[in-house]
Structure formats: C-alpha cells, structure tokens
C-alpha cells in the first residue's frame, strides 16, 4: 500500500533513513507502526533538536551579548554567576520562571496571555527553512523565501495584541509604533530579496546558496544595505528600537508583562537576531559554502560574525524618531530598492547565464550605483537636515474637540 505521503522524497537524505528507522519499529504488538506515527516521530525528533539548539544558542548568546556590550562600554559585564558569569543565563531563566507573573487589572484576559506565544512563534519558524550545512535542513521548501517573508510578519499581530491588551498607554504607544514600523519595512525587505532572487533564479534557499558562485553581497551591495536596515527594523534592533524605547515608552508593549511571559518576549527578541543573521548568511554570504572547514562550521561562523555586527550597531547608535524611521523606509529604502531591482533585472536580461567575468562586471556596476546612491541621497538628507523648519505649535480647539488632520 503506497504510503499516503512520502515526506522526504530525496533518497539519500538524512531524514529518509530516520523515517525508515522508525518505520520498522514495533511496540505493543503492533508490528510496523502506522505510517503517520513514524513520520510524526521522525519529524518531531528533528524539530525538537533544532528548536532546542536554537534556544540554547540564544541563551548563550544573551551571555555573550551582555559581556560584549559591557566590553564596548569599558566595563566587565556579568561575571558573578559561575566562571566568567557563564551561569548567568541559567540564573536568568530560573529567576524568570520563579518570578510572579503579574496580571494588572483592566487587562484583556486571554489576548494578554496569547501575545507572547504568537510573538515567539515567528523567530523559531524561520529556522525551518534555513540550510544549516551541506544537506542538513528541516525542509527544503521550493518557496523558502516566501515562507520567511510570511513568517516575519507574525510579530506585528503579537505586538499589537500585547500593546492593546495590557491597557497601559505606553504599551499602546509602543504597539502602534511597532505595527507602523513593521508594516512599512516589509516593502524594502521584499524588494532587496527580489534582487537576490533574480540572480539565483529559484526561491528555495538551498538553490540560492548553490547559485552564489560569487557571494551576493559582492553582487548586490545596495540590496544587502537595504536588507540589513530592513531586517534590523523588523526585529526592533538598535537604530530602530522605537517599539520598546526604554527612554521614552518605559518598555513599550511589554511594560505590563513580568515573569515568564516577559521572558518569552525577551527570548523571542534574542532569537530574532540569530534568525536574521542566518537569513543574511544564506542570502548574501553564500550560506554554508567555504573552503577547508566543514560546512556547519562555516555557517555558524558567518552567523556569529553577522550577529556581532548587529550587536556592535546596537551598542553604539542612538535611536531614530518615529516619523524619521517611516520617512527612511518610504523615501529612502523603497526607491533605492526599486532602482536596485531595475539594474539587476537589466543585467540578468543582458547576460543570460553570466560567466564569472561578466559577474564581476555586474558587481562593479552595482557597487558604483550603490556608492552613487548613498552619496547622492546623503547630500539630499544633509541639506534637508540643516534647513529643517521647526514645527509650529499645533492649534487645537478644545482639548476634547474635533480636530482637522492636516
């Protein structure tokens, strides 16, 4: 009887053997266990390992992040718990788990509780499609990139749920800002990804990595720049962390949370940079490919390097204002994204399957365009900066009255 669905079609894939292993299992007298159970067990085993490795790497990541930011600020960082503070993540986890999970009154019940769960789903889902090494990935979807783009929009809803449910004005401010920012940064992100797709020709991440004879960062500098800004805006990382801007909105949408609910938010916020770094390595830095060392080490090394750059930016740069962030998205990244798209499309049209020589020409053109755009737009920005007319005070009829929106 033909099994209903053969999940791992590739013959030699790692999961196929695992699935076969489970297929011959028999317990409680039921000789070969039903097909769907074997599939479920194999899948569960894989997903369980991947999710746990991601969470553990993130907890170690929190320790590394706090030590590194400490070093950036000429201080030492946590070093009390365990040797060099290595037990700090465990201590944090225990504290968060044992901390009282307060629920302020006037809070919209189950929306308040559901928000953290929805928030943590998306950074974890991203790892479903990412190829960690030569053949090791959970699923090689042929629409991998589309899946990632779809998944990275989930935090928008979670943010708004949290902001709205906690009934605190600062959270509502944070949630409104978060929704506006995430929605308006989807567009430049997708545009920069499309630039990469044009060159690689297929949506599946494995094919994108294989198509990169030259890492796409060299071929697509403008795309990489836009994608870096957009992805750090998606995760509310440093220059764009207006959602939980601690100097303005106390803690944004997760002000009213405490205990493990707050812990889930923080965990999601610390997983997101690893997810972003993984996407950047697969899309722009040729994923697992590299001479000598095994592919997993290359992948992990590149992810850590990109993660360090994100952290470095977080430790240094101040925050942009809400309207400046939106202006940056729509007036700066969006046109550049379209320009980058046109140029890449033209190049792909001109050279059908480009030889490495032609690839280098394309790289040269793209770099020239990128530098020209950055310098040109910066002149526009800087003289716009100096002539910024101060906002006139806003006339309002009565405090409670209607008000025309300009």
């Amino acid at each position: 009887m033909e099994p209903i669905y053969v999940p791992f079609r590739e013959a030699n894939s790692f999961y196929r053997n695992l699935y076969d292993l489970f297929a011959e299992w028999s317990f409680w007298g039921v000789s070969p266990i039903p097909d769907w159970l074997a599939y479920f067990l194999a899948g569960f085993l894989i997903v369980f390992t991947v999710v746990n490795t991601v969470v553990i790497v993130t907890t170690i990541g929190t320790w590394v992040e706090r030590r590194l930011i400490g070093r950036f600020q000429s201080r030492v960082g946590p070093n009390r718990w365990g040797p060099w503070g290595l037990a700090t993540p465990i201590a944090d986890a225990v504290k968060l788990l044992s901390k009282e999970d307060t629920r302020p009154e006037g809070v919209d019940g189950w929306v308040f509780n559901l928000a953290p769960l929805v928030f943590i789903v998306s950074p974890l889902l991203v790892f479903a499609v990412i190829p960690f090494g030569e053949g090791t990935y959970i699923a090689n979807l042929n629409i991998g990139i589309l899946f990632i783009i779809a998944v990275t929009t989930a935090p928008t809803i979670a943010m708004f749920m949290a902001g709205w449910a906690s009934g605190n004005r600062y959270s509502l401010f944070g949630a409104m800002r978060g929704v506006a920012q995430l929605v308006s940064y989807e567009v430049p992100m997708v545009l920069s990804i499309v630039g990469v797709l044009l060159l690689s020709g297929s949506l599946s991440l494995v094919d994108i990595v294989e198509a990169q004879r030259i890492p796409f960062i060299v071929l697509q500098p403008l795309g990489f720049f836009i994608f870096l800004l957009a992805i750090s805006a998606e995760m509310n990382r440093s220059p764009f962390d207006i959602v939980e801007a601690d100097s303005e909105l106390v803690a944004g949408f997760h002000t009213e949370y405490s205990g493990m609910k707050w812990g889930t938010f923080q965990l999601a916020e610390f997983i997101a940079p690893f997810g972003a770094a993984a996407i950047i390595t697969t899309l722009f830095l040729k994923g697992w490919d590299g001479p000598l060392l095994p592919s997993h080490l290359w992948f992990f090394g590149k992810v850590c390097f990109v993660w360090f750059v994100l952290l470095w930016i977080r430790a240094t740069l101040p925050r942009l204002r809400v309207d400046q962030i939106m202006a940056l998205a729509w007036k700066f990244l969006f046109p550049l994204g379209i320009l980058n798209l046109f140029i890449t499309a033209a190049q792909v049209l001109v050279w059908e399957d480009p030889t490495t020589g032609q690839l280098w020409i394309m790289a040269g053109i793209n770099w020239a365009v990128a530098i020209a755009c950055l310098v040109g737009v910066s002149q526009l920005m800087s003289d716009k900066l100096s002539t910024r007319a101060p906002l006139a005070p806003v006339p309002v009829k009565g405090a409670r009255g209607l008000r025309e929106v300009r």
């Binding site: 590194l68 400490g70 070093r71 950036f72 600020q73 000429s74 201080r75 030492v76 070093n79 470095w312 930016i313 430790a315 240094t316 740069l317 950055l374 310098v375 737009v377 910066s378 920005m381 800087s382």
Partner: protein, 166 residues
C-alpha cells in the same frame, strides 16, 4: 556625509573593545581611599576629650548625645568632666565632618570605614564603649598635623592619643 559619522562612532566603540575595562570588583578589590576620606568609624580619644560638647552643638543634625557629670580628672581647675554617655547616631549622620572641625581638643576624628550596615536602626548608634575599644585609625580630615606626618589611616598603625594632638 551620510554614514561617515556613524562609521567613526562605530570605530570608537570598536577601539574601546580592546581597552581594559575600568570596573573594580568591589568585594575582592577595594577602591583606593584618600587619607582625608570622611568615613564612619569615628576615632574618639577619651583622654583628650573634656566633655565640652562643642561637637554636639556644632553638628547640623544634632545626633551626638553627650551626658557628663562633674568629677573628671582635675575637678578644681574644672579641666574635664567625666563622660557617661557619648554616642553618635550613624543612622542619621551625613559625614559632613563639622563635629571634627568644631572639636577644640582634637579628640574626635573621622574614620575611613563605609561598610557598616545593620538590620536594626539602633544598631547604627555607636555607644561609648565601642568608641573606647575601637582601633583608632583617625582620618586626616581637618587635621593638618596628621597630614604633615604622611599618616595613611587605611594602612597605617593605630595612633595613641599623644600622637594625634596639634
């Protein structure tokens, strides 16, 4: 130019990555104190103190409690009273050192401790016998004669009442 300022800022923080962090691990390493440090282990020399209570009068918060009765060493010349109670309420003291400044006989000195913490408020009151038995490391605050001797209260030897006079 757009981006150049940010790049320079990033280079500053990166350079700082390789500098020695300036944190001092407090319980293990102590912060070096200056000899004039106004701390809380008061050094009080009963031999020098005549019970004139000018320190109690001059303290802005009035937290020094002195009870004396005539009958000190040389009552005829009215030289000094016998002191029954001399306690300083550290719970309310702000370590301004005006009492040390007001003492005409150099009997009271600031100390250089700062780690006295207790669970009950009235344990913070230093009674007279504790002042008597305490090892006397007088701080050189407002005492130029100690400073002339290059005396280091944190590391030096305890001083007896003859050596601290003007």
């Amino acid at each position: 130019m757009y981006g150049l300022g940010i790049a320079k800022g990033l280079s500053v923080t990166f350079r700082n990555l390789f500098r020695k962090p300036s944190t001092i691990q407090y319980p293990e390493e102590a912060v070096p104190q200056a000899p004039r440090f106004r701390g809380e282990e008061f050094a009080w020399y009963e031999e020098r103190c005549t019970g004139c209570a000018s320190c109690a009068k001059f303290c802005p918060l009035g937290i020094i409690k002195i009870v004396t009765h005539p009958g000190g060493i040389d009552v005829q010349e009215g030289q000094s009273y016998a002191i029954d109670v001399f306690d300083i309420d550290l719970g309310r003291c702000m370590f301004c050192g005006l009492c040390v400044e007001a003492c005409p006989y150099d009997a009271l000195f600031m100390g250089s401790g700062f780690e006295r913490s207790t669970y009950r408020r009235d344990d913070l009151v230093i009674p007279i016998d504790e002042l008597r038995q305490a090892e006397k490391h007088p701080s050189t605050w407002f005492r130029p004669q100690l400073e002339a001797k290059e005396y280091r209260p944190q590391t030096g030897q305890p001083l007896s009442w003859e050596e601290v006079g003007r």
